[in-house]
C-alpha cells in the first residue's frame, strides 16, 4: 500500500466520520465545526487528485467564508432544546423509508459496478490542476457557460436588490 492509498483511506474515513458527526452533534455550533473538518478532508482529496487550485479555493470559500457566516447565523439565532420543532413520529418514519429507498438504489447499483473496479482517478499529470490550465479550459472550451454564468449572477444581484429595497 503506497502513501497515496494510505492518505486516501485516512481522508475518506475522516470525511465520513466528520459528516456523521455533523448529523449527530446535539449542539449546532459543534455541527458547523465538524462540517469544517469535512471540508478539510475533501480539500485533501482534491490535492490527491492534483486539483491544487480547487483545494485552496474550497478552503478559502467554504471552510473560511461560508462557515464563518454559518457560525454567525447560528449564534445569533440562539438555538436551544426548547426552540427545536417537534417532529411527528410518522414524519420520521417516512424519512427513514425514503432514505432507505435511496440507499437501496445506490447499493444495488454499486453491486453491479464490476467495470469500475479497475478504474482510478487520473493522477499521472501533476500540473493539471494548476490555475494556468484551469484558466485555459475556462476561456477556451467552456467560455460560453462561463459568460452565461454572469447572467445568473446578475439576476441574483437584481433579486437581492429587489428584496432589500423598502
Amino acid at each position: 500500500m503506497g502513501t497515496i492509498q494510505i492518505l486516501f483511506y485516512f481522508l475518506s474515513a475522516l470525511a465520513i466520520f466528520s459528516a456523521i458527526m455533523v448529523l449527530l452533534s446535539r449542539n449546532p455550533v459543534h455541527s458547523v465545526l465538524w462540517l469544517i473538518a469535512v471540508f478539510f478532508a475533501i480539500s485533501g482529496h482534491y490535492v490527491l487528485l492534483n486539483a491544487q487550485f480547487l483545494a485552496i479555493v474550497n478552503l478559502i470559500v467554504y471552510a473560511g467564508a461560508i462557515m464563518v457566516l454559518f457560525l454567525f447565523v447560528i449564534m445569533l439565532m440562539n438555538l436551544n432544546a426548547e426552540t427545536e420543532p417537534r417532529k411527528h413520529i410518522w414524519m420520521k418514519l417516512a424519512g427513514v423509508v425514503s432514505g432507505g429507498c435511496l440507499l437501496m438504489m445506490l447499493i444495488s447499483l454499486v453491486r453491479q459496478a464490476v467495470e469500475m473496479g479497475g478504474k482510478k482517478a487520473m493522477m499521472a499529470e501533476g500540473n493539471i490542476g494548476l490555475i494556468k490550465n484551469l484558466g485555459h479550459a475556462l476561456f477556451s472550451d467552456y467560455v460560453v457557460p462561463f459568460e452565461i454564468t454572469s447572467v445568473l449572477f446578475l439576476s441574483a444581484m437584481v433579486g437581492a436588490v429587489v428584496i432589500g429595497k423598502k
Binding site: 445506490l106 459496478a113 467495470e115 460560453v144 445568473l152 446578475l154 429587489v162
Partner: protein, 462 residues
Amino acid sequence: MNAIIVSALLGVVMMFTGIISQKKSVHTAVASVGLLLLLLANLLNHYGLFVIHVDTRGMFNFEQFGMYFNSIAIFATLVYVLLSGKTIEHTGVSTADFYALIFFVLCGVSILSGFNGLLMLFLGIEIMTIPLYILTGADKRNLKSNEASLKYFLMGSFSTGIMLMGITLIYGATGTFTMGESNVIGSGGLIPKTSFLEIAGAILIFVSMCFKVSAAPFHFWTPDVYDGAPGVFTSFMATIVKAAGFIAFVRLYENNTAMLGPTWRILLSFVIISTLLIGNITAVFQQSVKRMLAYSSIAQAGFMLFALYSANDLAKEGILLYSVAYSLATIGIFAILIKMKDYTFDGFNGLAKSQPLLAFAMAVCLLSLAGIPLTAGFFAKYYMLASVVKTGGSLWLVVIAVLFAAVSAYYYFRVIQAMYFKDGEAELMELTPAFKTGMLALAVLIILVGIFPTIVLNFFYF
C-alpha cells in the same frame, strides 16, 4: 443564440428604464416592445441571421424544436404582459426590476430549449428559477408571499443539489457532460450494462427534473408556492416556466432512454399515474380557485409527461401544442382571477350577468384546460394520447388518462357553473376596454387553434 443574448441585454435595459423613468406604465410599454424585439430576434435565428456569431464549442444544439418553443414562450410572455401588465405595476414598487427578472427567466428558457450537455442544463435551470424565487416573494408585506418564497427557495435549492449530484456521478462515469455518451455496452437482461454511476446519475437528475415540473411524488411545494405567490407571478410560473421545464425534460431524455432499459417505462408510468391521481383528486376538494389551479397545473403536468413516455415525433408536436394550449388558457384564467376581489368559487357567482364578455372568455379558457373539443386543449390532449397509442402496448395508460380528464372536467365546470348559474355579485377591480378586447382576442385564438391545430404545427416545419 439570439434569444439568449437579446433577452439578457433586455434585462439590463429594463433595469436602466427603472432609473430613467419613474412612470410604471412606461416600464410595461418598454417591456412589451422588448418582447416584440426578442420574438423578432428569435425568428431571425430560424432563418440563420445572428446578432453576433458565437462559437459555442458544442455547448448548444439549436434545433427546430427548441427554437420554435422559444418563439412560443416569448409570444406567451407577450400575451401575459399585455393582459396582466397593469397588475404587475400594482404588485410592488420595483416594476422595472420585475420585468428585468422576467427577461432573465426568458434567457434561462432559451438556454433550456437549446442546451447540449448537462452543464448548460444546470445553468439554464438555475437562471430560470433564481429570478422566480424573487418574483414569488414580490409582495413583501404579505406574509404568505414571504413564506412561499422561502419554501420555494429551500426546496428548489435542495432539488438543485440532487441534480448536481446526478451530474457529478455522470461526469465521474463518462468524463463528459453529455448523457448517454458511453452508450449501452452490452444488451440483454433487464438492466443494460451501462456504467452504474451513469444510471444513478440519470435517476437523480430525473428526480430533480420531476421536482422542477412538479410531478408527483415531488409536487409538495407546488400548491403552497402557487397559492402564496402574487397571482400575476403564479400565472407566469405555472405556464411559461413549467412548459420550458418540460421541453428541457423531453430534450434531456430524448435519446437516452435506452440506457435506463425497460425499467424506465415502469418508473415513468408510476410517476404519470400518481401525478394525475394526486393533481385531479385534490383539485376537486379545493375551495379557492387559485389553489384549484395550482392542483390543476399538477394534473396537466401528468398529461405533459406523456411526451416523455412515448418520445416520438407525434409527442414532440404534442408537447408544443400542449404548451400553447395550456399556457394561453392558464394566462387567460389568471388574468381574470387576479382582477377578482374574492378568490373562492363563490367569488365568481353571477359574473356572467355583470361581465358577460369576461365570463365567456373565462369559460373558453376553462373548457380548453378540460380538453373539450373545439378548444385548443382538446387537440393538445389528443396528440399526447395518440403518441402513446403509437408506441403501442400502453393502452391502459391512455384509459386511465381519459378517466382523469373526465374528473378534471368536474372542477373546471364548477367555476363555469358559478359564473352562469348562480346568483351573486362578483366583485372586480376596475377594467379597461383594452383588457376586455385582449381577453376576447385570447378566447378567439384558443378556439382558432382548437379548430385548426395545424396553424401552430405548420410553423414547426418552416
